[in-house]
Symmetry: C2
Subunit: 162 residues, 2 copies
Amino acid sequence: MVPAMSEVAPPENAGSIPDLVELVHHVMKGALRHVQPTLNSEEISMGQFWALHTVSSLDSASLGTVARTLNLSPPTVCANIDALEESGLVRRHRSEKDRRSIEISLTPRGRRVEARVWREVSAVISGAARGVPGSDLATSIRTFRTIADRLDQGPVPRRAGA
Amino acid sequence: MVPAMSEVAPPENAGSIPDLVELVHHVMKGALRHVQPTLNSEEISMGQFWALHTVSSLDSASLGTVARTLNLSPPTVCANIDALEESGLVRRHRSEKDRRSIEISLTPRGRRVEARVWREVSAVISGAARGVPGSDLATSIRTFRTIADRLDQGPVPRRAGA
DNA sequence: TATTGTTATACTCTATAACTATA
DNA sequence: TATAGTTATAGAGTATAACAATA
């Protein structure tokens, strides 16, 4: 027996996905443009900030962990950490348990910079989302969490109508 | 009289915005990783694809229009168009009305490549969004359209709790 | 003078390959 | 041998400044 099409690929989804892709691309570009002055005044690049933010979230992490979290190569993260260390925002110290591994932690100044920039990023998006009902934001977050998790799980199943 | 806090800055929004920012960043990185093999086999870069897609959407556009649409500098778009022209995917021709301006249009092959890659991008996201109710996708699109439009309108108003 | 596109140039971000130290 | 991090190097992607042609 052939299943009804609506059980396999809900037709109402397929058509709207391209709009979502364009909007997300547009929002990323726009948000970056708004945040750039803050990054400039803190003398930090966007890539450096994501590394800083990741270390902050994980509260001390190895370089490899940061690379895996951000889906970047170790040399890329290494260069970012070099710059952050030179600016006095993070410290490197070898792990006691495994002397190959190096642990990265934030300096007090690193913590302050991370908090300031992250607050600014949130303020920009929050300001742009003024008036959007909390329930709509919650739905968007749920939707994006689903998509993010599935993209992390390897190849996504394809559907004819997609 | 001081307004109640919930009328000024709904507290349920402020806290969830950082999650949304992280998820969008993660989805962008993940989607790029999934689409990269298609871009490689079409021998086209992501930047070139966005230029191609923009020309396709606008159905012939000037270089400046593409640059403004993508929020990129004219030299950046010029380089992308150079590459696309060399690959035989677009054509340049001077405008009759204003001979400073050059119009860009897709070749038949450009149309086919654009359609293939865009279908693949949509398929990746669509596959990752399988099972998400169409109404949730519609809500996400509405939310992102609001945010994108506001980011385009210049500086966003800041709120204390953001 | 102002605008459209281009060229010249430089800087950032990123990855792969080769290397070092440790396991 | 395998893994964590680093160095060397090269290729995209991007922007600003200077230029050409046209308005």
